[in-house]
Amino acid sequence: MSDEYNQKNAPLEAQSSDTISGTSGTPSKDIDYVRPAELPEQDLYHGHSFITKWIFCQDAKIIGVQYFLTAVFTGIVGLVLSWLMRLQLGYPDLVPFITAEHYYQFVTMHGMIMVVYFLTALFLGGFGNYLIPLMVGARDMVFPYVNMVSFWMFFIAVCVLMASFFVPGGPTGAGWTLYPPQAILPGTPGSNMGIILMLVSLSLFVIGFTMGGLNYIITILQARTRGMTLMRMPLTIWGIFTATALAMLAFPALLVSCIMMTLDKMLETSFFMPTIVQAGEVLDYGGGSPVLFQHLFWFFGHPEVYIVALPAFGIVSDLISVHARKNIFGYRMMVWAIVGIGGLSFFVWAHHMYVSGMNPWFGFFFATTTLIIAVPTALKVYNWIITLFRANIRMNTVMLFCLGFIVTFVNGGITGIFLGNVAVDIPLSDTYFVIAHFHMVMGIAPLMVIMGAVYHWFPLVTGRMLSEKLGKWHFWFTFLGAYSIYFPMHYLGFIGVPRRYFEMYDSPYVASATGLNEFITVAALIVGFSQLIFIYNIVSSLSIGKPAGKNPWKANSLEWLTPEVPPAHGNWGEKLPVIHRWPYDFNVPGAKEDYITQTTPPSEVISAEVEKT
């Protein structure tokens, strides 16, 4: 900020503690100055009964855990569905109840659950709720009641989604993109109740998420503690913030397409339905535009990819910084890269539609924007690697997962560059190459971050450490297993094995594809079962884990600095914390310890050569 305003003594004047060359007052008082609070303390509702404390709870931390557990539950359902798919692909006709209809239903539900109900809810609902108030130094979310309603809307949405397994015809089998016209026509599995419940569930999810998203955005923008400028927030918060902003602007397109498709199904309007002849009979539909749905869907769908990826980027930056004991390289560049990716993500959606029959000129435009968005993404990868360069790395489970993330993300990102180019995409689209690409880049990579983040923040949530030994087993099973699943899929894609095929029958590539498919299936089963190590680790550590104490990782950011661990309702006890620096002051020359927490005033570390933040 400019100097001329620093001199004024206006009450609302921002004056951060970096103005070491202050003009008046005693030096120690001056360098520790943080301008006074603007807003009165937030009044919180304290629950008294079991129901208001644990069920309809207004504490963001409990809501975060509720989101987390619900999302993990749906994620496990999605995992089991993927096993069933893999069993059919690896060993056709081994399991008699997996018919073609069931296979498509599993594919659809696996995709939708994993993208929307698992990853989005977990990152924004779970980590967002838990970490935002703690990391920005707020007592709670700004609207605790709305936040509670948000979770229960999500819960109802999950219930509606799960209910679709039990209705006549089963869940929809239209593929997770739900493309009309086939999604709502007879012949597609679950084209009656299944698709309707799916659309209703998505609409409920959007409504519930909007309530939560308003909370996240406004807590970050308007309820930070004294001294917490935007450029002193941990990158986790930047990632979650930008992702939430994207969600607020992208989910409307999903809601609109859901409403229109529901009308197409229930009132026989023709928004997306062209004239169709079915079994020699002309249907009542006519004049609609199927490609419109694809545009609406991907106007939501592409930002959705970044809704999942950006929190992962943010969280992994913090984990790397803490466990490499080094400040994140290029913090401001990282922030602007996150914001830039967020902005650009609204202009790249049709690279999912190169073969859809859209305006042919679009390929040129969207390939260009897609390649442009690779630039800030690559910047982030370089910065993670430079952060690790000559760092004091702790090779623990968290760091292993971070390294796993970087490798996986680079892999998935590079195949993304292949697919972003029209000429390369056309032969590769709808093959297993695409499956491999997006599972690497937005399946495995964010999952690595989630698991690393669980190992990192478990001591904060429960007060106990997770077992390192089990954690390393878990990492190696997951990492190597995931690579054995998805690496061969790139090859399957190159030889032209199409995705979404129930069976290969007597195709010419059957010889080399069969063996690989069996291998992938076995790997998928092993990786899935190895998650039991993780679950066992969590459950057993709840009671027998080593007590963590305060700040076990020696981190700087605010969430570890609460008076009680795990933090109590209201987070901060009597007084809100006051922030003097960014959360990345690790191994500062001249400081006594290798970390300086965000609340340490400059007068206590007078000889340390800290970065000006």
Partner: protein, 234 residues
Amino acid sequence: MSDNSLNNLPGGFKGMSHDMGSDQTAFKGVQWGKVMMWIFLLSDTFIFSCFLISYMKGRTSTVVDWPNTSEVFSLHVGGVPVPLLLIAIMTFVLITSSGTMALAVKYGYEKNRKMCGWLILATAIGGLTFVGMQVFEWSKLIHEGVRPWENPFGAKQFGSFFFMITGFHGTHVSIGVIFLFIYARKVFRGDFDNGKRGFFTTMKSDYVAIEILGLYWHFVDLVWVFIFAFFYLW
């Protein structure tokens, strides 16, 4: 402008970089509830934009003729068809209610309880009139045979988009009317003068709630401006 400390801050883009670079709040002096309403309206703008973009795509790409809206929506006054008469009246009603709402916000901040309450009530009645006229318009079209799935005047999509977009807008108006009545009662009861705590929240009531309600109501009017231009005048 009353004298308060915000006036000491720089304005314009310099002020923007100052606010964004400062701690605690990014929007200086804007209450949480008001930011929430603004961000919600931004999200809602995207919903209506997506509806209208779909409408544009649907209307442009249909090969069946689109009905002539100024004939379809005309009213017969003494045997003479007057184009878009009802729509024009609806537009004026909505703008009137928007004006009364703006004045209600002003009187609310001046803590003029009576005036604020009556103006909110007037706004609510304006909104109710609008919804009533929309019901009349819908029933007229339904009598003429327009349905979401078919339309005697031309392209099928006309009925679909008409009922969906005006229906979604009408839902917004109806929700607004309900809240206007609730808030009129609250104003008359004096909740905003004595800072009574709300039913769902532990935060104190304040006249800023009237401005937040006003934002929503003006947004409904704003959307109607676009629907009027794109759906009726195109």
